[in-house]
Symmetry: C2
Subunit: 243 residues, 2 copies
């Protein structure tokens, strides 16, 4: 499985993904699930994926080749006029890949499916964030639903629901995301470190802060250990029940 | 869906269950999912269920009738010599009910399945806690796995994992459980108030503190509101990230 979060803040767009993939419990690997396309001044697009790895890699490869090959340049992911068109192009690519895999070879129920989080900004438009379904349709984040999760989303959802605010700084968003990811990693074997992140600043039109948080990252360790203590002490602060 | 937790403490056994059942999103009802059998001085058994309501009600009714009807008294749920025998009897009843439903009428994949948490104490033995699978087998709680959850367990799991301690008082356990249930209810429509509870004290051999926590319970409201604030302040206490 997987855990990815895409978040819309006043300051910009925030993305974090884990890197664990598994085919069964005894076949575990590390793969990057976050892909960033950048053309400074023109547009920055970030894509995260959960689901069948062959499907998501095929989608990224097809989109990626289009940005490189000269004779097959249109429709290029970075040539799209708006984020909405980027979402349509990626959703169509995803749907085609799934349909293509599903028609040949052995049948497998939903096994080729994948779900994507897409976010970014194209010059002339605002930053936008989309959740793309394997059926090829998608929804957009707004004020009521300002973040999307894909994969093992349940464990890390309560803290996001409680602590998300649109005015969070990037530093605060990083802390919130690491708590959400740590809760998930502690509870589910199919989500694992390292974590990839991208913090895109609105109107910068260039790749923002990116990096990878590994299992021995001192900040992550401090959060992981500190959060358990903080939760216990938060619980202690609650009023005492009386029978 | 459902959310139930059974917990083994030094002080005794703790049970909490929600009461929402649904067949589709537009068919919601309230049903008690906790059943207590008591014979003071002899034994107390608590059963909680998640899954197909017809199945779980059939299991409880069959076991219940056996405690009342005179000519069909053996094997009675309260006549069992040990909790292990109670688990075997209930597991067999569950398996029989599922098999019975599955063989007649229309076929439905797994639709008749149910999972149970069983806990209690029979005179002469210690308190024991079991998780019973629809296949009719079961596992027992121990020092390494001192609590079981069934139903929508993911949202409320992180706080249990972090804050459970075997030495919790019943009052502390109530607080912990309400936080876990509140996180689940906030995130999932298929889990809802009121909540039923039973706190069984080791070696008392009589029904312990039981009751129902409704949506307007002042303590629950205080926890539900206070916990959001406490989480945010716990997050604020964590070290700040620096890029």
């Amino acid at each position: 499985m997987t855990y990815c979060v895409g978040m819309m803040l006043e300051k910009g767009l925030v993305f974090m993904s884990d890197t664990r993939t598994n085919a069964g419990l005894d076949n575990i690997s590390t793969f990057q699930k976050m892909k960033i396309w950048e053309q400074p001044g023109q547009g920055v697009i970030t894509l995260m994926s959960a689901g069948n790895l062959a499907t998501t890699q095929a989608v990224v490869s097809i989109l990626d080749e289009r940005t490189k090959a000269h004779d097959e340049r249109d429709p290029s992911i970075l040539a799209v006029p708006s984020m909405f068109q980027a979402a349509r192009l990626i959703a169509k690519t995803l749907k085609d890949v799934i349909a293509n895999h599903a028609q040949v070879g052995q049948r497998a129920d939903s096994a080729f499916n994948a779900t994507l989080i897409l976010g970014g900004q194209i010059a002339g438009g605002p930053p936008r964030l989309f959740l793309i379904y394997p059926e090829g349709n998608f929804i957009e984040a707004g004020a009521d639903t300002p973040f999307f999760q894909i994969g093992e989303m349940m464990y890390g959802r309560p803290i996001l629901v409680r602590a998300y605010e649109p005015g969070l700084s990037f530093e605060e968003a990083m802390r919130l995301l690491l708590v959400s990811f740590d809760s998930t990693i502690k509870a589910n074997l199919t989500v694992g470190l390292p974590l990839d992140f991208h913090f895109y600043e609105t109107d910068s039109l260039e790749q923002g802060k990116t990096g990878r948080i590994s299992a021995d990252d001192p900040y992550f360790l401090a959060i992981s250990q500190g959060w358990g203590e903080a939760l216990k002490s938060a619980l202690d602060q609650q009023p005492t029940f009386e029978f």
